[in-house]
Symmetry: C2
Subunit: 193 residues, 2 copies
Amino acid sequence: MASAGQAPEVFAQRPKRADARRNYDALITAAREAFAENGAAASLEDVARRAGVGIGTLYRNFPSRRHLFEAVYVEEVRELCHSAEGLAELPPWDALVAWLHRFVAYVATKRALAEQLLHDSEIFASCRTEIFAAGEPLMRRAQAAGVVRNDIGFDDVVRLISGLTMAQFPSPEQRDRVLGVALDGLRPPATPH
Amino acid sequence: MASAGQAPEVFAQRPKRADARRNYDALITAAREAFAENGAAASLEDVARRAGVGIGTLYRNFPSRRHLFEAVYVEEVRELCHSAEGLAELPPWDALVAWLHRFVAYVATKRALAEQLLHDSEIFASCRTEIFAAGEPLMRRAQAAGVVRNDIGFDDVVRLISGLTMAQFPSPEQRDRVLGVALDGLRPPATPH
DNA sequence: AAGCTAGCGGAGGGTTCCCTCCGGATGCAA
DNA sequence: TTGCATCCGGAGGGAACCCTCCGCTAGCTT
């Protein structure tokens, strides 16, 4: 995954010269901050300022606002998916829960971005694929072990959890409590009536 | 509730002349549409255009964007809370579920608004109070009847449900399925392990 | 070390939106 | 019906932002 060629053409072209590379990364970091802070409507000139580069440099790397959105978003998804790797060693339920917790942390800051990309974007679709590739096996394993109900799919879980975290919580405690309630809903019905 | 004096000073001043009143209502309706369509950044001039009034009229009624936000939001909350009235006759669980379904429908379009108002607004707080007044009794009754677990509060439920619906669902079927999962999480544990 | 070229910065024209202001129109009371 | 207080509409100045363009800087190669 560290090798360059394998990624989809999402990162249209990563610059090659050292300084260009630095600027590219600084821009993504700055954009992530700015979007988290001011929402998706954050000024691009502000992003460039935060990154310490000229506005021209921003536009050379990301021809439109959307390109920048997508680059930030893809970066985040990549990290999330990468984090699913070590989890296969845990028991099925624990593995799923652990990953969903990370998922929560991931979505929390991405509200504004997701809102923009939801409408139409193949990048969004391909990230979805990546997320499914990372999380769905955990879910299937849990279902096979009988610790998750069988009448729902992984996409249902994604909606449940991602939606859940779009609400802002006053405290991490409450967030975890509510997440716990949602997770209880995933368990198979103990007493079929 | 139809009488004027009872409302908090949220609706700072409802205009008195007939034509002014018409415009006021048209503006709120237009704003609701525009915000649902283009997000919270919708152009106020566009709102005025949709309402068929001049931009000056908009600004006279709502001195700032936020005032308009709040007016729209308050209107929605009022409708939602009002709808909780007939439900006391249903069985506890059914009443709660029915109201939460309405809640879902209510929040679905309010994403953009809520995002804006979350940061700091006493209007938001007072609406919260109203919502609690409408929904909390339903929840307590369900808990007293033993059909909802006792280790959570009504605010947990609000977060769970409202967050849930901020995710966009491709079909109402999936939305209801996921809502069903969440609601299952509310039930008391059937078999303590 | 020197040259070539990828990459940099930011001035500036164009667009969109915000909000004020005031002459004219209109509902309402007498 | 008449008079007036209220309300309307939209022109227009100001601000923010978008994005392009081009003269200059500084990595990389040989």
